[in-house]
Symmetry: C2
Subunit: 337 residues, 2 copies
């Protein structure tokens, strides 16, 4: 049933040493011998036990993906991120082990945990910028790639999107439609992307000579409910607003509900822009104009990066920033004159 190198050696008539060296490309094996061994290995469907091999070689081809916080699973992008990670890992003959928060709760030092599980490097998503582990990972020799959180160390880097550019794109779009009073519903500032999105909002305003007004910004928490509350508050306090930008599609959906309930017709009375381009952004009524992020590609990039960090001692960590795209749908339109 389970074929070991001993079975192959016995059937081929050579030692396990010769079998191993034949299969692993050593040049001190006669080519005819090698061919015979390879044929037997193929016939028996022999596959080297990676566990045993990794014990000897101390090389590891497993990436650990840490998804922190149950709510991270409820963001729309995890599936695509995982899909991208798997596809890239697979082309490099790496496997992907997934861990949730409880793995880190056990009080076991991060690297010990990874070593115990045979993980050679970690991709982590769901970190807040205040999480202490970030400092710990920064100078660590253990390869790490963070998603959407900046880090820069000898073996640590991150992948993300150009959030600022995305926000500028959205603001350009609204400006071109004639909007001059533009509000912003952000997420919580513990998420680095929210700091970036705020900076992009400010940059977009400045680009068009518009004044940043603190009262036009609401800090939510990425939930639909905070999107509703944000829209309600911003519009109540600033009825002159003609457009709202929102830091996530889910919050934008909440804002849409609230605005509709308040009697606004979108986009005639007010324009709305989300962020993410989650599946449902095309399903709301009106469908959301939003900033698209290709999370599948981000996953591939993260995997590519962590594999290099694991495999190549001389590899210098590179920060990878993917571009975003404005997707115009029906939630934005010309300002009402």
């Amino acid at each position: 049933m389970i074929v070991t190198i001993r079975d192959v050696a016995k059937k081929a008539g050579y030692s396990i040493t010769t079998v191993s060296r034949a299969l692993n490309g050593f040049d001190d094996v006669n080519e005819e011998t090698r061919a015979k061994i390879m044929a037997v290995a193929k016939e028996l469907n022999y596959q080297p036990n990676r566990v045993a091999r990794s014990l000897v070689t101390k090389t590891v081809n497993t990436i650990g993906l840490f998804v922190l916080g149950r709510s991270s699973f409820q963001q729309g992008f995890i599936a695509d991120l995982v899909s991208g990670l798997i596809d890239e890992a697979s082309t490099h003959d790496f496997d992907l082990l997934i861990f949730g928060t409880q793995s880190l709760k056990a009080g076991l030092p991060f690297q010990q945990l990874c070593h115990q599980r045979g993980v050679g490097g970690a991709v982590i998503t769901g970190l807040k910028i205040t999480d202490p582990i970030i400092a710990e990972l920064e100078d660590s020799p253990f390869p790490t790639v963070l998603i959407d959180v900046p880090i820069n160390g000898p073996k640590a880097t991150y992948v993300t999107f150009d959030n600022q550019k995305g926000m500028v794109q959205a603001l350009d779009h609204l400006y071109d439609l004639g909007h001059r009073k533009i509000g912003f519903i952000n997420g919580h500032l513990e998420a680095w992307v929210c700091r970036e999105r705020l900076a992009g909002y400010k940059k977009g305003l400045a680009k068009h000579g518009l004044t940043y007004n603190k009262a036009y910004v609401y800090n939510g928490n990425f939930s639909k409910e905070s999107g509703r509350a944000g829209a309600k508050e911003l519009i109540k306090k600033n009825p002159e607003l003609t457009a709202l930008m929102v830091a996530s599609d889910l919050m934008a959906a909440g804002a849409l509900e609230e605005l509709t309930a308040m009697g606004y017709a979108l986009p005639e009375d007010l324009s709305l822009v989300g962020f993410d381009d989650q599946t449902f952004a095309a399903l709301t009524s009106p469908a959301l104009t939003t900033i698209k992020q290709d999370e599948y590609l981000l996953g591939r990039l993260a995997a590519e990066n962590i594999i290099k960090l694991i495999n190549d001692p001389g590899y210098l960590p590179e920060i990878k920033t993917l571009t975003t795209n404005l997707v115009i749908r029906q939630s934005t339109g010309p300002v009402k004159s």
Copy 2:
């Protein structure tokens, strides 16, 4: 840095044998000796290398999750399923390795692949009922749990929802609202759940003395576009229909778009029921009445089952069927008289 059992033995002043036996609860170790060894192990943060251990003990505490087809990642439930799997696995000190389709494309026999990767059992999602691997797994000694595809073998079982009951619930609801002409947009019949949903539709009709009419059923493919096409065709050919049931929320969203474009007001002119309760079901306008499936719980159940199959030689595989719930929102209302 990396602490091995030899470091602990050296520092504690005992052999590696005694250290191992002390840490693993053997009773031929003096209790004072044990305490001393445990203190040293704790001080050094010693964690047994699972790779080495599994090589010796041939026990494995890794579950392989196979997600087949890129489109499986785009179904709304994968993230919740994974979350549930991880949480349950973690309580049993199991890890979760994820594989995509390409892992099976390599031509490597399934069990060899799992053995090579140190996987003790597999959870598989995305299978069509026509996939040949199902027969292969049925009588295999390798532990397997399928998601939403029936299988029954000595080491094989499946977890799913009561799709028929869900459909009957939806039909009851529509019947109570006065609907008598009820159409059904199904997914493709290679997905077992679609056969179940069709059977449930028929059962619900029969329960209320309504006649099953083949012309009232459209076979889609789970895409939004097929939902649009299904609504268009069913309504065009059967204008007497007052309600549509749909086998997934995404197709329901497509049907909603089409019906709206055709000038129907929902639910006044026609009622619509989806299936899944995906996040966006609450975000469409009107929000979808739908059948809720708790995929997180399904993930936990699958993990619980596969762990039992791996750990307990005497465990008889149990089919696990979770109940569904009707979630009434705004897409259903009384039939127009």
